[in-house]
C-alpha cells in the first residue's frame, strides 16, 4: 500500500489525493468486501467501503484545503503493461496499448495475481487473524465484552487506541471483528477496529511523515480518528434503528454455501496457501527486514514477487523500474 502511494506522489498526484488513496486502499478492497460478507453481515459489507471512501475524501480535502497543492508540473504517469511488463506505454497509443494481450492472457494474468499477489500478500496476516479470532472465541466468556465495549463513545475510543498502532490488513481483521461481535462488542466498535486497524500502524507513520510532512500526518490521523469514531456511533444507531441483534446475524452468509462447496473451498485455499506461507516463514527466519517485501511491490513485477523480476530479460525501455 505504501509503495503504491509513494509512486502516486512521484507521478505528481497532490498530497490530498495521496492521503485519500492511503486511507481507502488499505481500509477496503474487493477481497475484504467478500470476506466481510462471509463472516459479518450485509450491513457491514456495505458500510465498510462507504466509511472508507468518506473518511478518505474528508482527509484528502482537509489536506488540500490546509495546504494548497502545487499543481504546476505535468503528471508523469507510469503506464507500463500490467500483464507482463511487455511495454512501458510511453509513445504507445491507447488503442494499441490496450490490445497487447488477448483476453485469455489477461484472465490468466489476473488469476496469477489473485494467487501470488493478492492472496500471497494476505495469507500470513490472515493466518494470524484466524488464530486470534479463534483464541477470542475460546478464551473470552460470552457477553464479557458487552460491559466494556458494548457501545458508546468509550468503546469507540478503546478500539481506536488498539487499532491505530496495530497493523493488520483489511481481510485479516475481519474474522477478529466477527469474534469480537459474537462476544458482545458493538458492531460500531468493531467497525472502528476494522477501519483503524488497516489504515495505520507504528511503522507506516514514519513513511507518512515522509509523504505528507509532520503536520499533514497529524491532520491525517485526526481526520481518521474523528471519521472512524463517528461512523462507529452511526452504525450502532443503525443497528438499533433496524432492531437487528448483531450477534444473531453474524456469519449467516456462510449457511448459504452447501457443505461440499465449503470443504472444496478450504481445500483449494489451503493448497494455494502452502507456497506463500512457506516463503513467509523462510523470509522471517532469514531476517526481520524481510517483512517489507511482504506487501506486493510497485509496479507489479511479472509472475511472482518482486525478486523474480530482477533477473528477467527486460529491454532497457521496459519501464518496469528495474
Amino acid at each position: 500500500m505504501l509503495p503504491a502511494a509513494a509512486s502516486l506522489k512521484k507521478q505528481g498526484a497532490n498530497r490530498g489525493a495521496v492521503s485519500a488513496f492511503l486511507i481507502s486502499t488499505p481500509e477496503s478492497g474487493i477481497d475484504s468486501i467478500f470476506i466481510t460478507y462471509a463472516l459479518l453481515d450485509p450491513i457491514m459489507t456495505i458500510v465498510r467501503p462507504i466509511s472508507a471512501f468518506i473518511t478518505a475524501v474528508t482527509a484528502g480535502w482537509t489536506e488540500n484545503l490546509m495546504h494548497r497543492p502545487n499543481d504546476s508540473g505535468p503528471l508523469q504517469v507510469d503506464r507500463s503493461c500490467p500483464v507482463d511488463n511487455c511495454c512501458d506505454g510511453v509513445d504507445c497509443p491507447d488503442e494499441v496499448h490496450r490490445r497487447h494481450h488477448r483476453p485469455g492472457e489477461k484472465i490468466a494474468a489476473g488469476l496469477r495475481f489473485a494467487v501470488t499477489d493478492v492472496w500471497g500478500d494476505i495469507v500470513g496476516w490472515f493466518a494470524v487473524g484466524l488464530l486470534l479470532a479463534a483464541v477470542i472465541t475460546v478464551l473470552i466468556p460470552d457477553d464479557f465484552m458487552a460491559r466494556w465495549l458494548g457501545g458508546g463513545i468509550t468503546s469507540m475510543l478503546v478500539m481506536l487506541v488498539i487499532g491505530i498502532p496495530l497493523y493488520i490488513c483489511a481481510s485479516a481483521s475481519t474474522p477478529i471483528a466477527a469474534a469480537l461481535i459474537l462476544k458482545g462488542v458493538s458492531p460500531g466498535a468493531a467497525l472502528v477496529f476494522l477501519l483503524a486497524g488497516p489504515a495505520t500502524n507504528v511503522t507506516s507513520l514514519t513513511v507518512l511523515v515522509g509523504l505528507l510532512g509532520k503536520r499533514g500526518t497529524l491532520r491525517y490521523l485526526l481526520v481518521l480518528a474523528v471519521c472512524t469514531v463517528a461512523f462507529g456511533l452511526l452504525v450502532d444507531q443503525l443497528y438499533a434503528f433496524l432492531g437487528i441483534v448483531p450477534a444473531a446475524v453474524i456469519g449467516e452468509a456462510a449457511e448459504l454455501v452447501p457443505e461440499w462447496l465449503q470443504y472444496t473451498g478450504v481445500a483449494v485455499l489451503l493448497l494455494i496457501s502452502v507456497k506463500p506461507l512457506a516463503a513467509t516463514f523462510h523470509r522471517k527466519s532469514a531476517g526481520p527486514k524481510g517483512e517489507t517485501t511482504f506487501h506486493s511491490g510497485f509496479p507489479i513485477a511479472p509472475a511472482a514477487g518482486p525478486k523474480k523480476g530482477e533477473g528477467s530479460s527486460c529491454p532497457p525501455s521496459c519501464g518496469c523500474g528495474h
Partner: protein, 70 residues
Amino acid sequence: MIQESVRFAIAIAAAAWDILLDSSIYILFGIVVAGLVKVVLNPGTVASHLGRGRFLPVVKAAFFGVPLPL
C-alpha cells in the same frame, strides 16, 4: 496441566476450522475478482485518471482505492 493445554489447543483449532469453513469460498471469489481488477486497473495507472485540482482528484483517488487490494 498437559491435558488442559491439549484440550485448549484442540478448541482453538476447531474454532479456526469453523471460521475457515465459513469463509474459504468467499475468499476464493474475492481474490479472483481482485486479481482481475488488478489487471484492468493497475495501481500505477491510477495517477493518470486523477487530473488536477483540489477536490476532484481526491474523490477519484479515494474511489479507486476502495476496490484495490493492497
